[in-house]
């Protein structure tokens, strides 16, 4: 009975984090973007600096009519948002926040593989949405999503493999246990490649070609309204949280910090994750969108060679210190 309670409590906490963290990132994006562009952003909803703006947006989405285009493939169209969103919820279960078994939903032996495998499924949601909408813009968006995923999955996997080599394990908690501060300069190239490839997989600017509004309206999500559209948005922001948390865990040492490692480890994880989320927003404001050929060129001629070089470096250092 106690075990069941423990599992239920963990799942409840993860579910709450899954619902709240993306909203926090979204609200931060509203405010940070606004201030970077010399605006104020939402100021009225909820009173204090418009903190309840996204709650109000959520209520608005829930009230809208649920429209399915007449020519669409109904079932695939309706299933797509769930396929896009659920993988991120699953990934959140295995991300360790602090030291020890108490600060992670479930320890999985092959953590890196689980995380990358399940994150890859989320893209199927965009593909299903793009195809099932019976809209040429949607189909183009789906095509671009697939092309982008195919080229950016490889550098992401390679850099994750580099960390696994360094730590000698593929378990996320194992990697954190083995972490030393000098891994930071050692794996910095891998970290950059992982983060950039992750941004591309999430279709965040400057890699938002699949949802480029000036060309194809909103890509695969053009035909969506109401709650289903909100679910896609939630998936994007949950993706930001997951990507930042993963980069923190794999490359930035997670709960390791200069001080307070015993009791305040979880605070370091949250701090690093929040900092990376800020960088994600910052990049959106400061960089123009990459063209399709530039996207592919960046992946194949820059990121993949860099990732391979990082793996070689990891191997050499690993052999040297042994």
């Amino acid at each position: 009975m106690n075990d069941a309670l423990d599992v239920a409590l963990r799942l409840a906490v993860i579910f709450v984090v899954f619902l709240v963290a993306p909203l926090l990132v979204g609200q931060t994006e509203h405010k940070v973007m606004a201030h970077m562009q010399g605006r104020l952003g939402p100021m009225y909803a909820g009173g204090f600096h418009g903190w309840a703006q996204l709650v109000a947006d959520g209520v608005k989405f829930a009230q809208k009519e649920d429209v399915v285009p007449a020519a669409a493939d109904r079932r695939v169209f309706q299933l797509a948002p769930a396929v896009a969103l659920l993988p991120y919820l699953l990934v959140l279960v295995v991300i360790p926040v602090g030291p020890g078994d108490g600060a992670v939903g479930q320890v999985i032996d092959a953590g890196i593989f689980f995380v990358l495998a399940v994150m890859g499924i989320g893209v199927l949601g965009s593909l299903m949405a793009g195809w099932a909408s019976a809209n040429k813009f949607s189909l183009l968006g789906g095509l671009r999503t697939a092309a982008q995923l195919l080229s950016y999955e490889l550098p992401m996997l390679l850099t994750a493999a580099s960390v696994a080599m360094a730590a000698g394990t593929v378990s996320l908690t194992g990697i954190l246990d083995a972490f030393e501060w000098w891994w930071l300069p050692w794996q910095i190239v891998g970290a950059l490649v992982f983060f950039v490839a992750g941004l591309a997989e999430l279709q965040r600017p400057p890699f938002d070609m699949p949802v480029a509004d000036s060309e194809i309206i909103f890509g695969a999500y053009t035909e969506y309204t109401g709650l289903r559209f909100a679910l896609f948005l939630l998936a994007e922001y949950a993706g930001i949280v997951i990507l930042c948390a993963l980069t923190t865990v794999l490359f930035l040492g997670g709960w390791h910090g200069p001080f307070g490692a015993d009791g305040l480890g979880w605070l370091w994880t949250l701090l690093k994750t929040a900092l990376l989320a800020f960088v994600v927003i910052w990049l959106r404001v400061s960089y123009p969108r990459l063209r399709e050929d530039q996207l592919q060129k960046l992946a194949w001629t820059t990121l993949v060679p860099l990732a391979l070089a990082q793996i070689a470096l990891t191997g050499i250092v690993k052999v040297a210190i042994n």
Binding site: A71, F113, L116, A117, I121, M128, L139, L150
Partner: protein
């Protein structure tokens, strides 16, 4: 995530009651997931809607991953999801969208070779089952020790006992990759050298 805690129970139960009459919960789950996987696979090859076939393939491959999990082969299960669901199916869908992916039925998508294909599939399955059964007939798995499918065990096994076949496979894949690049590039230069000829136009369509 209950699937992970289940296998040890299975190991213990199988040690106590080696019989078909008292199946454990995991064995029943294995059977049910297997049936669902088989059903999804049959729909994949019989449905008239192209993209639906690809999506049912996702269900079938995911079901296989669950079967691996139930057999305590955790690492293989995640690799299955990563490679097949995450990459191969995305590639398939990409190809479908690039060429022809109508919504609704496409009655002309059927091939006249379906019986030949069935024969080839049956022969392949028979050969595989026979080879695997023959190779591992005398191999026994120690159920009392730690789980045999963990990442560590799989890795040690792969790079100690099977490293030569592994490397041979890598070379084979590399050769296929280089071959694909060479083929695509030669076609490219052909079209630039002789842009108007009939032969290249046909080649491009194929």
């Amino acid at each position: 995530m209950t699937l992970h805690t289940a296998p040890p129970v299975f190991i213990a139960a199988a040690g106590d009651h080696p019989g078909f009459l008292s199946p454990s919960g995991v064995e029943i789950a294995f059977l049910l997931v297997g049936l669902a996987t088989l059903g999804a696979a049959v729909i994949t090859v019989t449905t008239k809607q192209l993209v639906h076939a690809a999506l049912w393939l996702v269900v079938a491959l995911g079901g296989l991953a669950v079967e691996y999990l139930l057999l305590t082969a955790e690492f293989i299960a995640w690799v299955q999801v990563l490679i097949y669901v995450g990459s191969i199916v995305v590639l398939l869908l990409f190809g479908l969208m690039l060429t022809r992916a109508p919504i609704g039925r496409s009655p002309d998508a059927d091939s006249g070779n379906r019986w030949v294909a069935l024969g080839v599939a049956a022969a392949t399955a028979a050969a595989l089952v026979w080879v695997v059964a023959d190779a591992f007939r005398t191999t026994w798995i120690e159920l009392d020790g730690p789980a045999q499918g963990s990442t560590e065990v799989t890795g040690a096994f792969l790079f100690r006992n099977w490293v030569l076949p592994f490397e041979a496979l890598s070379v084979l894949l590399l050769a296929a990759l280089v071959g694909a690049i060479v083929l695509s590039r030669r076609r490219d230069t052909d079209t630039t050298v002789r842009p108007g000829t009939n032969g290249t136009a046909k080649e491009e369509q194929s």
